[in-house]
């Protein structure tokens, strides 16, 4: 199978779906780049991180739509277009920007179907990057998928590798509900085997990236490779760690998580979203309420501290959960 970066895998997914379905359009700031100005008709960016490179050149301005800096109008326009027959992919660039346009996502797109008695469908994908690790500071490093997960009507995807990213994004684009697709910056360069053709990965099915007996780590997005590394390291010491990557937080593979904990009896959750009311807490609550009798030890939450994300790399490195903290949590769980 060809190797691709997650960036390329995402590009792939969008391209294939745009080829397949003329109703798929891409909307965002500089998803093309080069509209207006003195440079003539060029594609200057293809997204600030190059994720959408080549798409304007291939599909043109009617389907790859550069916009002003106007996120409420971007998400709102995409939501309005989705409920009237298009299948828009709206790019939010950095997920941190949801604060300037969240109404259109959480009060509008997410609720149309319910508020309108089941008569609406809103096949919308809002995608963008998230996460710390780039010294992008407090307003460009957040991972607010906990906030989106709390909203009934939204689906939320947090891929951890190129293969999953492609398959999940294709599923998202074909899905008839609004989907928030969160791409972790740290993973764009990650390379992995990705088939050329289109394929889908169902939502709500966790991926067991490591199988094990002693302890379950549930990890999300950029935390998955770190959890895997810890599992590999500890295996050599005879601690058998299962790593569960839910891949989507809404729907969440509750059964998959509960089964794993039933098997291991110990749970560590590694989650970048928040120190309070995050996905770690959501999953811990699931297990403490529905899998309580499996538990042999306190659940370990590995999250960032309750602080904004610091700019200085010296601090940011300590902010983001790392392998040392994950390992320590596993050892604590084992010791209990």
């Amino acid at each position: 199978m060809p190797k691709r970066s997650m960036r390329a895998a995402i590009n792939d997914a969008i391209r294939l779906e745009m080829e397949r379905d003329p109703n798929v359009v891409l909307i965002g700031e500089d998803v093309r780049g080069g509209a207006g100005g003195t440079g003539g008709e060029v594609e200057a960016y293809g997204g600030v991180m190059g994720v959408t490179k080549g798409l304007w050149t291939k599909f043109g301005s009617a389907r790859v739509i550069d916009t002003p800096i106007t996120e409420s109008a971007i998400v709102g326009m995409a939501a309005g277009a989705a409920m009237t027959g298009l299948r828009p992919i709206a790019e939010l660039m950095f997920m941190d920007f949801f604060g300037v346009c969240y109404d259109m996502l959480y009060n509008q797109a997410a609720k149309f179907r319910y508020m309108f008695g089941g008569h609406a469908r809103t096949p919308l994908v809002v995608r963008g990057m998230m996460g710390a690790g780039f010294s992008a500071a407090a307003q460009h490093s957040q991972a607010p998928y906990n906030v989106f997960t709390a909203v009934a009507g939204l689906k939320v995807v947090v891929p951890s590798n190129p293969y999953d990213a492609k398959g999940l994004l294709i599923t998202a684009i074909r899905d008839d509900d609004p989907v928030v697709f969160c791409e972790h910056k740290l993973l764009y360069g990650l390379s992995g085997e990705v088939p050329d053709e289109a394929y889908t990965i169902p939502f709500g099915e966790a991926n067991y990236t490591r199988e094990g007996e002693d302890v379950t780590i549930v990890a999300l997005a950029a935390m998955v490779p770190r959890a895997n590394a810890v599992a590999d390291k500890l295996r050599k010491e005879g601690i058998s760690v299962e790593v569960v990557d839910p891949r989507t937080t809404s729907p969440l593979d509750e059964e998959g998580i509960l089964e794993s904990v039933e098997h291991t009896g110990r749970l560590v959750v590694v989650d970048e979203s928040a120190a309070r009311a995050g996905i770690a807490h959501d999953i811990a609550a699931l297990v403490a309420s529905q899998g309580f009798h499996s538990l042999k030890a306190p659940i370990q939450l590995v999250t960032p501290p309750h602080t904004p994300i610091p700019f200085s790399p010296a601090l940011e490195k300590a902010w983001l959960p790392d392998e040392a903290r994950i390992e320590a949590a596993v050892r604590t769980a084992m010791a209990a």
Partner: protein, 332 residues
């Protein structure tokens, strides 16, 4: 672009009598619907918030007479008039407002979220200013599909100050979208005067500053609204991009039912009813072209239709408990 003088309203002569009758029927239906709800509301049987459209009928109907079912409309919290003008069924509307299962939204939306996508009615919206970004999306669908359709966003004078409305106007200009921004200036947003909250000389002039044709019209004059909307819709259908209309009228009731309205001169509503009643003005204008007894018949029929709607709604069942967790997702 600065705001342009309103086009000369061509008046009733430009419309065939059956069209005049249709327009009047819709205005009369809105009026009857709202006046009846005003009464029903006092019984305590209408759940939640209800915002009445009486006094503004000529705006919704003056605009929507140019639209078909495949054209889209995004509405406000004060949406009953837009629904009726867009052709929604009043029985299903009334059921919805009473929170009953046969309502347009199965009782899940209520007055502030009535929608009927089959009629192109994209929903009332409880977020002030919410229609504008959604309507440009509906317009994008039409543009992308080359279907020649248009979308209309209704916004109040209060809502005209909301950031996302400005964003939508700019986006519409940039992408030359087939959309019409209708600002219904009824003088107030809740208890705050438009003369206070809108910092610019007029809403129309501010919209013009965004780079689109924009006019201010008398929103109690069906023909003025109809003419302005006709031009704007034609522009949009021709691919010439968005337009704005500020239509001035007065709301006849409080912002909410029970509002003491002491932010208004004591006789403001009485004078509006006496001098600027959109239905009375319409009747005066069409005198000679539509027989008075035909108009009276329309009035009577509207009352009867609304009465039947209330009866049906009151007799209708509430949603089953099983409806609670349905319709969140298409599939989950």
């Amino acid at each position: 672009m600065s705001a342009q003088p309103a086009p000369r309203a061509p008046g009733p002569d430009a419309l065939a009598p059956p069209l005049l009758a249709r327009a009047y029927r819709r205005m009369a239906l809105i009026r009857a619907f709202e006046e009846r709800l005003h009464v029903e509301n006092t019984t305590g049987d209408v759940p939640g918030f209800v915002h009445l459209y009486a006094g503004q009928e000529a705006i919704a109907v003056g605009v929507c007479e140019h639209l078909g079912d495949s054209d889209y409309l995004g509405s406000t919290h004060r949406g009953h008039g837009h629904c009726i003008a867009k052709g929604c069924d009043v029985v299903a509307m009334m059921c919805e407002i009473f929170g009953r299962a046969p309502g347009l939204c199965g009782g899940k939306g209520g007055s502030m979220h009535i929608a009927d996508l089959s009629k192109g009615m994209l929903g009332a919206n409880a977020i002030v200013g919410g229609a504008a970004p959604l309507a440009i999306g509906a317009a994008l669908t039409h543009k992308t599909k080359g279907s020649g359709g248009v979308a209309v966003a209704f916004t109040g004078d209060g809502g005209s100050n909301q950031g996302m409305v400005f964003e939508a106007m700019n986006m519409a200009v940039v992408l030359a979208l087939p959309v019409l921004f209708v600002f219904e200036n009824n003088g107030y947003g809740e208890g705050t005067g438009a003369d206070y909250a809108v910092g610019s000389r007029s809403i129309a002039e501010r919209a013009a500053g965004f780079g689109m044709p924009s006019v201010q019209v008398d929103g109690t004059d069906f023909f003025a609204v109809h003419a302005a909307a006709g031009e704007a819709v034609a522009r949009a259908r021709a691919g010439l991009g968005p337009s704005a209309i500020e239509a001035k009228a007065l709301r006849w009731y409080g912002h909410y039912e029970g509002d003491p309205m002491n932010y208004r001169a004591p006789d403001e509503v009485a004078r509006a009813r006496a001098e600027r009643d959109p239905l009375a003005l319409f009747r005066a204008r069409v005198a000679g072209r539509v027989p008075a007894d035909e108009l009276a018949g329309i009035d009577a029929q509207a009352l009867a239709e609304v009465d039947a709607a209330v009866r049906t709604a009151r007799a209708a069942p509430f949603p089953e408990p099983t409806a609670l967790e349905r319709d969140v997702y298409v599939a989950y």
